[in-house]
Amino acid sequence: MKPTSMQWRDLVSESVAGLASRPLRTLLTVLGTVLGIAALVSTVGIAQTAGNRIIGTFDALQATSVVVTNESSWSGDAAVAFPSDSEDRLIRLNGVEAVGTLGSVNVGSDLVSAVKLDDPLGRYEFQISVLAASPGLLDAVKGELRMGRWFDVGHEERADDVVILGPGAASQLNIFRVDQQPVVFIGDKPFVVMGIIRDVDRQPQLLDAVIMPEATARKHYGYAGATTVQIDVSLGAGDLIAEQAPVALNPNDPTVYRVQKPPSVDSLRNRVEGEINSLFIILGGVSLLVGAIGIANVTLVSVLERVGEIGLRRAFGARRRHIAGQFLLESTTMGIIGGIIGATIGILVVVGLSAIRQWTPVLAPWIPFGAPLLGAVTGLLAGVFPSLRAASLEPVEALRSGT
C-alpha cells in the first residue's frame, strides 16, 4: 500500500493549532527568545546609531582632506619638487575625488594693481600674494566662484596671462565684475581677470591671493613647482590615500613628502561599535541560548503531555517523520514569533533611545529580516531533541496514556 503522506499546508495548520491551543504557554515560552533577540537587535542598532552619530559630529571636511607638502624637513634637505603631472597621477587612485596643486609665486617686489577704466589716474598698488594653482584645485579645496570661471587645461597649456582673484584681493583691487575682462598688473605685467572666488573650504590663503596657472608662473617668474598638493578623498578613504599618494608622486622615495591625513573615522567608529557590541552581543547570545533551552524544555514537556495525541496520530497513519515534523515546526514557529516580537522591541528601544538623545536612529536593513530568521534557527535547533523523542514513541505506548 502507498505510504501515507502529509501536505505542507496541513503540517503548518496542525503546528499552529498546537501552539494556539495553549496561547499563554506559547507566549511565555517565547519570552526567552524575545529577550535574546531584543537584546541583540537593540545592541546592534544602538551601536550603529552611535557609530553614525560619531561620523556625523566628525568634521566631514577634515575627514576627506589629504594634504601632501614638500616642505623641507628640519634637517635642511632641499625640497623635492612635485612632478608636473601630479594631478594626473593622483586622480587615478581609487578614492580620490579631486586633486589640485598649489604653490607661491615669487614676484620679487612687484606690487599688484588694477586699472580703473574710467579713471586712469586712480592707480593703487597693493602687496598681494601671488599663487600658482592647477586646474583641479578649485574642486580639491571645495571652492566656489562668485563669477567668471576657473582656468582649465587649455590656459595651462598655453600659459595664458590670466588670473583668478580671491574675494579679499578682488575687493582690495576694487574689481567686482569680470564680464568686461578687467586687467590687473603685477609689477607692469598685465593679466586678464577670469573669475572671482566666492569661498573655499580649504587652503584659505587663496581668499586673499591672486592666482595664476602654473605654466604662466613658470613663464614669467621661473616658478619651480607646487609646494602643496590638496586631495579631496571619499569618506573613509583617507588612510589609504594618505599611504598611496606619496608613492604615486615619487615612487623612488615616497618619504620625501609630508602627508597630513584625516583622523581615521573607521577606527574611531569601530572602536565605539566594538565596545558596545562585544558586551551586549555576549549578553544577547546568552539570553538567546536561554531562550533556546526554554523552547526545548517546553517542547519536550509538550511532547510528554501530548503522548496520547502522538499515539492517536500514529493510529491515523502518521509516520514518525510527520510527528517529528509537527513538533519541529511548532518549536520553529515559536522561534519565529520570538524573533519578530524581539526585533520589534529591539527596534523600539533603538528608536526610543535615539528620540531621547535626539539622534537619528540607524539600523541595517537586514536586521528586521535577520532577527526572525535567527529566531527560527533557534527554535529549529531547540526542537530537534523533543521532536526525535516524539517520533521515537511506539504507537501502543503512546496510546496507553490518556489524552
Binding site: 496520547g308 500514529r314 493510529a315 502518521a318 509516520r319 501502543v396 496510546l399 490518556g402 489524552t403
Partner: protein
Amino acid sequence: MAGTTLLQATGLRPAPLSPVLHLSGIGRTFLSGDTEVPALTDIDLTVTRGEYVSVVGPSGSGKSTLLHILGLLDRPTTGSYLFEGNEVADLDEASRTAIRGRRIGFVFQSFHLLSHRTVLENVTMAMLYTEVKRDVRVERARAALDAVGLTHRIEFPASRLSGGERQRVAIARAIVSGPSLVLADEPTGNLDSVTSESILGIFDSLRRSGQTIVMITHDASIAAHADRRVSLKDGRLQLEAAR
C-alpha cells in the same frame, strides 16, 4: 488488496464470507526484565466481512494486546496475520502505518479526543495523512457526524462535550475514512449505563450498514450485542459462542 480493489471497481457489496482478518498461531510475549511474559498464546481467529465480533475476558487476559496486534499498532512475536488477504505480520513500518491509517478505525475507552479542537477538526484529523482533499474531508466528517447524531455540535470544542457525545465523535472519527475494520477497546468503559446503551446502539446500526467491528469488553451483556463472541483467558482463546 487486489480483491478489494476489484470489489470496489465493480461496485458490488463485499461478499459476506471474505475474511477481513485471519490470525493463525499468533503469540505475543513481553520482556519483563529477563523473563518472557506471554500475553497472547497461539491465537487463531478469523473475522469475515460485515461481522461484529466481541472479545471478552477478565482484566489482564490479553484483550488490549490482541486489539493492538489487530490494529497493526503492535507486532506479534509469532504467527501469521492476514489482513484483507495480505500478510502484515512482517511488513515494514511505513506499509503498516499506511494500512492502519487507511483501512482501520479505532475507538478507545478514554475517547482520545483533542480537547482544544472542535468536533469537526477532531473528525477531519483522521484523514490528515491519507491524501484526502480538505473540502472532501469536511464533507465526509459532516456525513460521519450526521451518522452518529452530532450535527448540532460540529463547531463545539471537544472539551465542552459530555462523555457520551465524546464517544460519538470518536466513532464518527473511526468510520470517516470508510475503514474495512473498526476496532473498539472498551468503548463504554467510561460511560454510565444509559449512555452506554446509546453508544452500543450506534455500533448496532454500524453493523447493519455492513461495517466489520471487533469490540473488546469485559462485560458479557455488552458482548451480547455482537454476532459472535470470543473469550480470552490468560492469553488464550477459550470458546467461540454464536449469538
